[in-house]
């Protein structure tokens, strides 16, 4: 039995295989309609989510399976003080696979230590979000047709942005990838991630200016400054509008730039960008369903 807690647990070959399957699902959806017939997915979401939870549920339904679960801690026994370990011991008797989101970092790892069925980390605080990374990788692959030789700009909250941390880890496996880390000083990438980049001899630069960075980028990964990650409202209000991507900034970008965003967006991408061919974030959200279908099949051992 295998879980997915951190994207690092997947080999490059496994990621490539998941992407091949996801692309086949997109091309031949009918082939997959009954792949998970009779199987159940439990979505244990202790924190609000739209895309991740609904895409997991849509993924399981499109594979012919069923879904049960809860969408906030208030609707679960966590509100009565039940531990993650106990909840998972119980729920793993009701489902064949579990997707868990939790505001505390490491909760899905704890779950995987006590579960009888595979656990998928659907986001744990500011830590990891491997299925978002798989979504991002599928999007990059479909947009660029490659993972090598890319300049990837990551902009916004690089400190608490778990999607950013996981994406850096995943893209670090490929050749000639350069990261441009665009953030205010307060929201820089944590030092341990930079240490890993240094150790692997991967090129990166840190900057505060989106305007200066944008011309060299092949991919621009925008992120939201997340209110829920701040203990101090004042800090959030000070930093939330640091970067807003609009048409005038985009004018300096390459014609084949791909703009990604894990969503939800607040105002960091102006709506005027939505119809620009370089905006990929809504396709990205759709890709999330397909890659989760591929992952559910893999972890359930369905061919």
């Amino acid at each position: 039995m295998r879980s997915l807690i951190d994207i690092k647990e997947l080999t490059t070959q496994e990621i490539d295989e998941l992407i091949v399957v996801a692309k086949d699902i997109i091309a031949n959806p009918v082939k997959y309609l009954e792949k998970c017939k009779g199987k159940k997915l439990a979505t244990l979401f202790y924190e609000a989510s739209t895309r991740t939870r609904l895409s997991f549920e849509a993924a399981m339904y499109e594979l012919g399976g069923n879904v049960l679960g809860f969408s906030s801690a208030d609707n679960s026994s966590a509100s009565k003080g039940e531990s993650v370990a106990d909840t998972v011991r119980v729920c793993s008797g009701y489902a064949d696979i579990i997707a868990m989101r939790h505001p505390k970092e490491g909760a899905p790892l704890v779950a995987s230590m006590h579960s009888l069925v595979p656990i998928i980390n659907a986001g744990d605080g500011g830590h990891n979000h491997p299925t978002q990374t798989l979504t991002d990788l599928l999007t990059i692959n479909r947009e660029k047709g490659r993972f090598d030789n890319l300049v990837i700009g990551l902009c916004g909250d690089l400190k608490f942005g778990r999607t950013v941390h996981s994406l850096i880890g995943a893209m670090s496996r490929y050749n000639n990838v350069k990261f441009v880390l665009i953030s205010p000083d307060e929201l820089k990438v944590p030092s341990y991630i930079k240490q890993e980049l240094d150790k692997s001899n991967i090129e990166y630069v840190e900057t505060r200016s989106l305007e200066e960075a944008i011309p060299e980028l092949d991919i621009l990964y925008m992120t939201r400054v997340q209110r829920e990650r701040f203990f101090n409202e004042e800090d959030y209000l000070r930093l939330k509008d640091t970067y807003i991507l609009n048409m005038s900034k985009l004018a300096k970008a390459k014609d084949d730039l791909s703009i990604l965003h894990p969503l939800p967006r607040v105002n960091e991408i102006s709506v005027e960008i939505d119809n620009d061919p370089r905006a990929c974030y809504f396709e990205q959200a759709l890709n999330g369903k397909y890659i989760r279908m591929a992952l559910i099949m893999k972890l359930l051992g369905v061919e």
Binding site: E105, A107, Y192, F231
Partner: protein, 145 residues
């Protein structure tokens, strides 16, 4: 300075000068009934100056605590006035129940019964990270649980 030779007990040698008291507290040596000698600033060929702890009773030293706090220390077990075992302490790969994760976002901050486990992720710089949230432990005096 004359100290009685130990007949049966444990000697912790090659402690960084000034480090003996922290180890004394972390290993709960203050709770022992037997004689414990704390030797500070002893002359050392290798280290210049060093601290030594002599415990006049055979005790089980928590090697995880010692390895985390003071890698490089030598532990000698004395029986019938002879050294029967000597061990050079390396930093342990994993430490459990020694230190607590300080990250308020870590699952251990709300689920107190979870064991606090840290992994050595950088041997050269002695960096330990929480297995749950990967937060680096900043080693400082008094952080032993």
């Amino acid at each position: 300075m004359i100290l009685n030779t130990i007949t049966n007990g444990v000697v912790l040698d090659h402690i960084q000068a000034g480090g003996a008291m922290e180890i004394y507290k972390a290993l709960n040596l203050d709770k022992l009934e037997c004689q414990v000698a704390i030797i500070k600033n002893a002359t050392s060929v290798k280290m210049g100056r060093k601290d030594i702890l002599k415990i006049c009773e055979p005790i089980d030293v928590n090697l995880d605590v010692l390895g985390y706090l003071a890698p490089g220390v030598t532990v000698s077990i004395i029986e019938d006035s002879k050294v029967v075992k000597r061990k050079h302490i390396e930093p342990p790969e994993t430490i459990e129940g020694v230190i607590k994760c300080k990250n308020p976002r870590c699952i251990t901050s709300i689920e107190q019964e979870l064991p606090n486990i840290f992994k050595l992720t950088d041997r050269e710089n002695l960096v330990y990270r929480c297995i749950y949230c990967e937060t680096q432990n900043k080693k400082k005096q008094g952080d032993i649980k």
